[in-house]
Symmetry: C2
């Protein structure tokens, strides 16, 4: 199964910590929506799901929320990344599309469960949380492409994890 992580970072590489930082721009929402529909599914952390759960992104696809304690109606809840992937695999999907938050992203990275990444570099500098595996090992990436998405100065870089 191809696992695809989608992250929005500030220009200085943080998950934004302010309201302005946390809310994706419309072109990012459109892009996330497109990629989620292509995969047919989305894996999301509990906190992020609670913030965004009414978004049209989640309509018509298999939604998997990672949580060991919560229940949400109409979506699959899996206690771990591995079990989320097993569920999607057994449901016949070839790709899994993973979005934030940062704790979930770092957990997938730490468990070496990511094969492909999109990083959106947003045009501001801010303090925030770091995208990184917990073991701090160097992970090499294969650069695939870069492009501006939308008109607000967001640069998207696409990588394979080697």
């Amino acid at each position: 199964m191809k696992t695809i992580l989608y992250s929005g970072l500030t220009a200085n590489g943080n998950y934004g910590s302010s309201e302005a930082g946390q809310l994706p721009k419309q072109e990012e929402i459109d892009d996330i929506n497109l990629k989620a529909k292509q995969a047919g599914n989305i894996i999301i952390g509990r906190k992020s799901y609670e913030i965004f759960k009414d978004s049209p992104i989640f309509k018509g696809i298999d939604v998997v929320v990672i949580s060991s304690t919560s229940n949400f109606s109409g979506v699959k809840v899996a206690p771990s990344p591995r079990e989320a992937l097993d569920y999607l695999s057994s449901s016949g999907y070839d790709n899994a599309f993973i979005i934030g938050g940062v704790t979930l992203a770092n957990t997938f990275l730490s468990q070496r469960l990511i094969k492909e990444m999109y990083i959106n570099i947003e045009p501001y500098i801010e303090n925030g949380l770091k995208l990184e595996p917990f073991d701090n090992k160097l992970m090499n990436l294969e650069f695939l492409s870069n492009k501006e998405i939308g008109n607000s100065g967001i640069v998207q870089i696409h990588y394979n994890l080697i």
Copy 2:
């Protein structure tokens, strides 16, 4: 005076902490060299200068090392960013070109002395030091352009600070 900061970051937004991370690739050295020659000068932190001082980058341009204690032959030593800029301004330069290390970059950012930035996003994920102003205030950037430099997957993004 237009102050231009040049930073190399990992894909997850850190100044790389390993040897592999710290050493710029040849295409970055060529690019730094070109931009330093265009400015006619370079401002660099003491530690970075000690590591790279034999590099051809420093030949034929005005080199300003920021240090309150050290002396180096053949280069100007200034005790602070402000005094480095004053020196270059009084020498007739219109632009100042500032490279690492991260402490120097963060000092310039914190003192709101940067007008333009180049950020090179390098194709790996690693723990490291953060590029950010000490006051953690949000700084908006105006996106100017992005491009791949060289053939090793480095994406360079060019911003104005607003």
